[in-house]
């Protein structure tokens, strides 16, 4: 593909193949059956802990296994889609009351998403050495997260 796209290669691409980026619509390139959101950056975990609880503390398991949780597949959308600020319950800092409304602490998190193309049979597992055989490709992903203080 590099050779084909290289302007110096002498290969001519049919004009109908090419359109300017501003003239195309991008679509979600995969069907997301499920995804796991991992939290493996120590800096991020401590920052998030500070925002949500006031103290910088990693979860107890952080140094023993990659911390992750099941995400909501339908929340994955293609870049360019306008984002609506998420709604939720949180404690208003002024009144102390629990209110429902747009989150006041929305962060964005640059992440790498691994698309698994080769599944594992149920009940089996692999080690990291063999992981690459199961990864179809990588994408950059922006994880918008509401980081309101937890309800205490």
């Amino acid at each position: 593909m590099q050779h084909i796209l290289d302007p110096n290669s002498g290969i001519s691409i049919p004009p109908t193949a090419t359109e300017g980026i501003q003239h195309v619509t991008m679509h979600l390139p995969i069907r997301v059956s499920e995804f796991t959101d991992f939290s493996c950056s120590k800096d991020h975990v401590l920052n998030a802990s500070e925002v949500m609880t006031g103290t910088r503390k990693a979860p107890p398991g952080f140094l023993h296994f990659p911390v992750g949780y099941a995400g909501r597949s339908s929340s994955i959308i293609v870049s360019g889609t306008p984002i609506r600020r998420p709604l939720g319950q949180y404690r208003d800092g002024n009144t102390g009351n629990v209110i429902y409304g747009p989150t006041r602490q929305l962060d964005y998190e640059l992440e790498i998403a691994c698309i698994v193309g080769q599944p594992l049979p149920y009940g089996s597992s692999i080690t990291a050495v063999d992981a690459e055989d199961h990864i179809f490709g990588l994408v950059l992903l922006n994880d918008w997260s509401g980081k309101c203080r937890s309800l205490k």
Partner: protein
């Protein structure tokens, strides 16, 4: 074998409903031309007025190149037919319709 990369670039701005129409015709993606050199060949799914069925495409600078057109021009002959079939066939109903 090199792995395909797709950049799903996100916008850092939040839009309210009134700005939505304006937001759809943004020129944002064209700001990333220098991200897409020959050293970064991405793959994604795109459609356009000329290519109405969503299909696999790549990008070089600010140009989106539809793979099926390259296959039609016999430019990807050293790829197995089974993969060519995949590159040409994208069913919109099998994807989240986004």
């Amino acid at each position: 074998m090199s792995r395909p990369f797709t950049y799903l670039l996100s916008q850092s701005s939040l839009f309210d409903s009134q700005a939505l129409a304006q937001a759809v015709t943004f020129s944002g993606p064209a700001m990333y031309a220098d991200h897409f050199s020959l050293s970064n060949i991405p793959f994604g799914v795109a459609s356009s007025s000329e290519h109405s069925k969503p299909s696999i495409a790549t990008r070089f600078k600010d140009d989106v190149i539809f793979i099926e057109s390259l296959i039609g021009a016999k430019l990807l002959l050293d790829i197995p037919q089974s993969m060519l079939d995949v590159l040409c066939e994208v069913s919109p109903t099998s994807l989240n319709n986004k």
